[in-house]
């Protein structure tokens, strides 16, 4: 790792620790450094220890890698992937609390071609993780449609409002084709 890499990594993580809105750091990295800098971060790839679920894409591909923003379940995420923050795609990092309320997305699993309903629960009570900022907004809706809005800080109630990261839990198979918004209306 060059001195420049270390400096960029340090700056990015410093910002990550202080950010209060999901998404700040990742976009900073994207804008200033380019996506190429993210792999330089000392990402804790704990999720790598987990075997892929049956019928999930190969882990060696971005669509099957829970530490990649291209992971198929992250299609509607806007925040830090818990799998890069000490948790897994379905569990929160140590010391955080999983939000009871959440938004959902509908993501297509390229391994079986089916659409799945994914629950994006926020991990709360510690500051923003800073790793793996994923800013995909497929199916995202405005705040007045809360069940589909990834702009809402879902850390609310007993867990407090401090946002750390987000898990993506498959909760069902979508029975209808997902719709698109903002198309050529």
């Amino acid at each position: 790792m060059t001195a420049l890499d270390r400096w960029i990594s340090g700056v990015t993580r410093w910002l990550a620790q202080r950010t209060s809105r999901r998404g700040l750091v990742g976009t900073l990295g994207m804008l200033l450094i380019g996506g190429a800098a993210l792999p330089l971060l000392p990402v804790a790839r704990r999720a790598g220890a987990r075997e892929p679920a049956p019928d999930e894409p190969d882990r060696s591909t971005p669509e099957g890698d829970p530490t990649s923003c291209e992971y198929w379940r992250f299609c509607s995420i806007d925040g830090f992937a818990a799998s890069c923050c000490g948790g897994t795609a379905t569990s929160c990092p140590p010391g955080t609390q999983m939000s009871a309320v959440t938004w959902i997305g509908t993501c297509r699993n390229p391994a079986d071609g089916k659409d799945y309903i994914v629950s994006y629960n926020d991990c709360c009570g510690k500051g923003p993780c800073g790793n793996c900022f994923c800013h995909r907004n497929e199916g995202d809706k405005p705040v007045y449609s809360p069940q589909r809005s990834n702009d809402i800080g879902w850390c609310m109630g007993s867990a407090g409002v401090i946002y750390n990261s987000t898990v993506s839990i498959v909760i069902g198979v979508a029975t209808e084709q997902r719709g698109r918004t903002g198309g050529a209306a």
């Binding site: 700056v11 910002l15 202080r18 950010t19 209060s20 809105r21 999901r22 998404g23 700040l24 976009t27 900073l28 804008l31 200033l32 380019g34 806007d78 309320v101 009570g125 510690k126 500051g127 800013h135 995909r136 907004n137 497929e138 199916g139 995202d140 809706k141 405005p142 705040v143 007045y144 449609s145 809360p146 702009d151 809402i152 800080g153 879902w154 850390c155 609310m156 109630g157 407090g160 409002v161 401090i162 946002y163 719709g179 698109r180 918004t181 903002g182 198309g183 050529a184 209306a185």
Partner: protein, 452 residues
């Protein structure tokens, strides 16, 4: 100006004298005093010749009225709102806030700024306190506060989380637990007036003297009218005016006189007129022509709309992209004559400038030509394009368009009428989450602060 300048100017001398006297003998003290006097005399002679003796403890207050080109710039990292002058580039002051994206409300008539805030007693944990803090607009010091139920919605929106009634009597705060409601603050009596459940409806926009509007999940609009005590006098829900599934409007509406303008993901402008009390929905019109739509032009950004009231011009950040890019920043700003419903200008956006840790990376301004323009050349032609997520326009007769990318603390500033690029202004922020033009009429300097 003078009220802020109460200075304990002799404190240092008094404390030092007592301390010396108690530690050393009287004769030694005399020597020390004589020595000090000699030194002071010498220092005074030098000072008389150069710089007058100055007072310690001076604190500025802002002049009144504010400058027409002042802009408030929110930062979620530093949890503050910075005030900068877009003409001179000067940093003028700041207001600190709590967790989330701070967005202030400005009273047009009172020299006060209102800021809903969320705090935890142990910063990331502990007891949560939500509070509406009232700041003196001239001293930027807190003068009062009203404690709110700890239910304030947390999201990065630059508009819609709180609103002032037009008569400035009430402040409404959008709550989400996730049950939605409005918290109402009586700003004259400085008390929490109560909570109004608003099931199915979110966000809040001021639409009249005692009236607020909210957007509902079925595409309708809820109008809430308050009585003298801040309780609900009337609550009325309209028929749906947009399809929240197929083409939802963004939350980032702009006010135009008695109307609000919301724009859909696909670029349809919905104008809602509240002048008669009841909301009146005009037929939507498209910001994107069929030809531009075929070229994938779309609206997008975290604060993608701005409006210049005196000329009735609407400004929209646009980019070329696919579906679900409604939060992607703009590469151009398109300008519309709202009354004529037609586009009257295009402004190609330039890089707002690069900052790291709030500091500008600008260099070479004093180098010889042509190298003095190297930084600008690199920004405009070499650096990756910064999508512009935030735009705002000042409301004076010579309006300025300010543009920002969320992760640079530098703003690019344009003449809002001609579209001419003017300059870059560094805010000292880490990030930019909201731009708010400053009110520039009225605003008399008040009494510093009253809260500890």
């Amino acid at each position: 100006m003078t009220s802020a300048k109460r200075i304990p100017q002799f404190r240092l001398m008094t404390r030092g004298g007592v301390s010396l006297h108690s530690r050393i003998g009287r004769s030694s003290a005399v020597l020390v005093v004589c020595g000090c006097a000699t030194l002071a005399l010498a220092a005074t002679r030098v000072a008389d010749a150069d710089v007058p003796i100055e007072r310690i403890g001076e604190v500025e207050v802002l002049p009144s009225p504010f400058g027409p080109h002042w802009m408030w710039v929110s930062d979620a990292l530093l949890e503050r709102i910075a005030l900068v002058d877009l003409d001179s580039g000067a940093f003028l002051g700041q207001i600190n806030a709590g967790y989330g994206v701070p967005v202030a409300l400005f009273s047009p008539d009172r020299a006060e700024i209102y800021l809903p805030e969320t705090h935890h007693s142990r910063r990331t944990r502990g007891i949560r306190t939500d509070v509406a803090t009232i700041y003196d607009a001239a001293s930027l010091s807190p003068v009062d506060e009203v404690i709110l139920p700890p239910k304030r919605a947390v999201n990065p929106l630059p508009v819609g989380n709180s609103a002032l009634s037009d008569d400035q009597r009430f402040l409404a705060v959008f709550n989400m637990t996730p049950a939605t409601s409005l918290g109402v603050v009586d700003l004259e009596e400085r008390r929490f007036a109560g909570e109004i459940p608003t099931p199915g409806c979110s966000l809040v926009y001021g639409v009249g003297d005692r009236r607020f509007a909210m957007l509902c999940g079925d595409g309708s609009l809820l109008s809430v009218t308050l009585d003298e005590a801040g309780r609900v006098r009337q609550s009325q829900r309209s028929a749906p005016f947009f399809d929240p599934e197929l083409d939802p409007v963004t939350e980032k509406g702009v006010r135009w006189g008695d109307s609000w303008i919301f724009v859909s993901f696909a670029g349809w402008a919905h104008v809602i007129d509240f002048s008669s009390g009841e909301p009146s929905f005009e037929s939507p019109w498209s910001l994107i022509s069929a030809e531009d739509r075929a070229r994938s032009w779309r609206i997008g950004g975290a604060q993608h709309l701005a409006l210049h009231e005196p000329t009735g011009r609407l400004y929209a950040a646009v980019h070329q992209g696919g579906p679900d890019t409604h939060k992607e920043g703009g590469t151009e700003v398109w300008v519309y004559d709202i009354a004529a419903r037609e586009r009257v200008g295009r402004i190609e956006l330039r890089n707002p400038g690069v900052t790291v840790m709030g500091m500008s990376l600008a260099f070479g301004r004093d180098w010889a030509w042509p190298f003095d323009g190297l930084y600008d050349f690199l920004l405009d032609h070499v650096a990756p394009a910064f999508p512009i997520e935030h735009i705002a326009v000042t409301q004076d007769e010579e309006p300025i368009l300010a543009t920002a990318s969320s992760f640079s603390a530098s703003l690019a500033v344009y003449d809002a009428l001609s579209g001419e690029f003017l300059r870059r202004v560094v805010t000292g922020n880490m990030t930019v989450q909201a731009l708010q033009p400053s009110p520039f009429r009225g605003l008399v300097a008040a009494g510093v602060g009253a809260l500890p």
